[in-house]
Amino acid sequence: MVSSSVALRPLAGSLAKAIPAVLSVGLLLVAWELYATYSGIKPTILPAPSRVFQQAMLNREALIDNAIPTIGATLIGFACSLSVAFVLSMLVDFFWPLRRALFPVFIVSQTLPLVAIAPLVVLWFGFGLMPKILLVALVTFFPTLVALVQGYEATEVEIGQMLRAMGAGRWRVFMLARLPSALPYFFAGLRISITYAVVGAIFAEYAGAAKGLGIYMLNAKNNFRPDLVLAAVGVSAALTLILFGLTVFLQRLAMPWERAGRQPARKGARR
């Protein structure tokens, strides 16, 4: 069998699965285009998608230029938040009282309105990268931490019993059983928090930045250019989608057994 055909089959399958989504988005864009063209609404109020796309192409250098700091802030902030969440999740798993001490604080941190917090963080940490990293970390940290802690808890009780009967200590049980058991939960949390990450960075830039999609949107709005605001929105949406796709891809790499489990063994069973 040619290996490429094996590789192509799932690709064709996922393309087929994407058709309904493409249709619904396409329909929405067509309706929007028709309304903007025939209702007589001014393009400075509601630009047609074709105009947004055309302006995005004309201003692509500025858009790319402003997207780069946003991507940087998102990735660095997300990486920091992941590392801290991982370390803390382990501490919480080993010292259970920590959970009661820390979780209320984190839950409160999730209730803070970004609109109020973003300008304050900029006030404290300036217009540089720091406030963006902090805000991205703030919005992504908690979902990741909760997912990890829940994932450890989801370890099959019998696997733990068996490992202890084999003579494994707590650390071995954690590494051999609790950590891999948490992977599906971790990736579920990752998918949720990655969608917040870009928004968090843009919020921080909106509150004050030298460059970035957030400040670009603010300037475009102040210049009565909703088409450019929407173009930047499109870029940020595309970024989020790419990052989301990346987590799905990473999950497949990290958890090959998940897909293997859906196809039964090919080889005949021997009795």
């Binding site: 099959e156 202890r164 009967a165 059983a177 891999p180 859906r262 039964p264 080889k267 021997r270």
Partner: protein, 250 residues
Amino acid sequence: MSRLELRHVRKAFGGLDVLADISLNVGAGEFVSILGPSGAGKSTLFQLLTGAEHGEGEMLFDGAPLDDHGRHFAFMPQRDALMPWRRILDNATLGLEVQGVKRKAARARVAPLFAEFGLAGFERHFPAQLSGGMRQRAALLRTVVQERDMLLLDEPFGALDALTRTAMQRWLEQMWREHHWTALLITHDVREAVFLSDCIYVLSARPARVLREIPVPLPRPRDPTGAAALEAEILDILLNPQPSKGNDHD
């Protein structure tokens, strides 16, 4: 010569008596079953043996008190407890890895056994790709390669369908004839206990005590049809429990 000997073992959780009085012997190379109704505390007995819980009474191994639990027993839990993220080969080596054997050496020790366990060709498969019976054989393989003194099998076939269970019981009986593992099996299946064991301890409902110790003198290889009388007798003990000895605990 008895390897494992329990004398008047008791265990209570909070105020709840789970094990009232358990005394039993398992000789070298003997297959012994503990048979009792569901919820009788049979699994608690294994928790005492593996050191997960502590009870009262004496537990002796080769005449000496049990202290370093992990050294003597290889434990096979109720469900197969295979790790879904490890291939069958790496699941089988788990016990050896925990003992500190290097992964490569562990694989080399385990690999020749796959054919005997009916798993040849499935080394690189994930557990989710295997049938229930194959998963149980993989779990048993993981248990025996630890080369402990004794196997503790906690209702190993309880989750299988009736047909697969029967096939697995026949397979296990045949494997036991070849290897003569010293084994203690927990089950609530009378037919399984009679088919596999040299000796059966029938337990009462909670708080569990030994109702009867029943040797199974049937010749091996076992003939599944020759055991009907013994099965009927044990069923009668289980369904109409009358303590045989003067146990006046409650």
